[in-house]
Symmetry: C2
Subunit: 319 residues, 2 copies
């Protein structure tokens, strides 16, 4: 009988449960639920429990792998907090899931888990070292070194989003100026475009039309769409994000010299012109002897789930 | 009979050979020679051969560990180049030493080797992860991760000196602006002080007196000395260096989350005020959850030699 693996992805706004057989590369089935605004940790747990029992029916998992959208102590499987959802402070998620489903569980944060997924099944297959970077409402990252996750001394490694690339830049949520996240994540792009639209009334026609002149409605996706339609203000707002990502990646290449950078998340869907700037700046920032490439993630939203499968395999009794 | 280990340190301006018994923590003997200006690779090799034969007398080493002051392909033991001495391009140093002394040799660059030395015998003892940073005429670095050297995919890891901390800063030898090395290494400190002395004729009295008003004679060591004697211009020139080191270290803490940063090299002898700025800026730049400390190297100029001993042990037949 095949071992059944349960993969759970606690996202900020979306929860997914999926099952696969050990060694299989396709899901047997998947259940997904959106989280309403105002949800808390209890609500998230109830949602995930209900999704999972629906999915399992009469079956039982041999092991559970979990991706969580926030900092996690992977050694104990304890969630430290969620940046989006209240009530997740110091929740012993691994222990709760093991008690509920009667199987060993392993929990890590989404960037580390997605790095595992891309390494085993996606754009990082066959690479000994890589940094996975996700660029959406925040900028997170996860390392693979020597073919294994490198989580850092306290599980904090991979925080490329809070490396400073412009000490004179705008203030980030973390309090510093010019972090990669402040310049390159979706909210930062939207805010920059909004400020420029306010300050430069003659520019940004396409973007203004897209939001029907309601500047509060500007999102990074709209900036990206307007840029694709030739709006130069929108493109310049995006270009700053690409520059910041390139600078952060180039610095990481000098410091750690991985073979590859894998970039995922909504913001990275901004098109070839955006990617060209990232790559140019990354290679200008890195020493010429530090060879690497920068490629799109292959698994999209499924990267954390597939990474959870890799985590799962680590906690199977046979290992 | 104890295995005799030969440790060689090819510095930019100084060569050292030393022997120790396997498992011993003291040198049995050491030989040292300064390299004159205008020396080339042939001269360096002749010097080191002669030092070594003097040292060995009738004895033969069981293995040879080598620290080289420049980029090295550690897998083949081939020197890529020396930033200081011509003729070192693609020299198969390991093969040459093995042929000459009839023992297995292992070669790596000085920052990686010094990191090994500090990890095993110095300020990094007992630490699972650290970055060793040397700040003298350049800024180099070497990682220990999982208790082992992390050299990167192409042996280029640890180049904290060429991470950019100020994109509007002065131009570095590598062509970029605002690298840690340009701002924090000795020549960068001296150049900054010199420029300020020229531009601000009413300041820098102590430093001017130290160099007898010959601005070309300003060195980082004099800047440091003048700062210690209360010269505020000199202190501000040093402070920029401490800021750059702190910013680079904070970024590295966010990216890799090691337990400790060990700093060596002449510039780091600039006193407690200098260290306080490094530590403050490093902790301000790092996320509060990324815990680490920043401490002085313990082995001084001997770090590469002791690291060479660690390299040596790796290539002993018994391993």
């Amino acid at each position: 009988m095949t071992h059944l693996l349960l993969a759970l992805d606690f996202g900020g706004t979306k929860h997914t449960a999926a099952i696969a057989g050990l060694g299989e590369h396709q899901w047997r089935s998947q259940q997904r639920a959106l989280s309403p605004p105002g949800a808390d940790a209890d609500y998230d747990m109830k949602t995930m429990r209900s999704l999972t029992w629906d999915l399992l029916g009469e079956e039982r998992p041999a092991a559970i792998g979990v991706s969580f959208g926030g900092p996690v102590d992977a050694t104990t499987g304890t969630v430290r907090l969620s940046p989006h959802v209240p009530g997740w402070e110091n929740v012993p998620l691994r222990r709760m899931l093991e008690a509920e489903f009667g199987a060993p569980a392993s929990v890590d944060n989404d960037a580390n888990v997605a790095a595992l997924g891309e390494h085993r099944f996606g754009a990082g297959r066959g690479y000994d070292s890589l940094l996975y970077v996700t660029v959406s409402t925040g900028v997170g990252g996860g390392w693979i070194l020597h073919g294994q996750p490198w989580r850092g001394a306290g599980g904090m490694a991979g925080e490329i989003g809070h490396t400073v690339v412009d000490p004179d830049g705008p203030v980030c949520v973390c309090g510093k100026r010019g972090c990669v996240e402040r310049l390159a994540a979706g909210p930062g792009i939207a805010q920059r475009a909004r400020e420029w639209l306010e300050a430069q009334p003659d520019r940004g026609r396409v973007l203004r039309a897209l939001v029907r002149h309601d500047l509060e409605a500007v999102t990074a996706q709209m900036v990206s769409q307007a840029a694709a339609q030739g709006d130069e203000l929108a493109w310049e707002a995006l270009e700053v994000a690409a520059w910041a990502l390139g600078a952060g990646i180039g610095n990481a290449a000098n410091l750690v010299n991985p073979q590859r950078f894998v970039l995922g998340g909504g913001v990275t869907k901004a098109g070839e012109r955006f990617w060209a700037v990232i790559r140019r700046v990354a290679h200008e920032t890195a020493l010429p002897e530090a060879h690497f490439d920068v490629v799109p993630a292959a698994l999209g939203d499924d990267a954390p789930l597939w990474g959870a499968v890799v985590l799962v395999e680590e906690c199977l009794p046979s290992k």
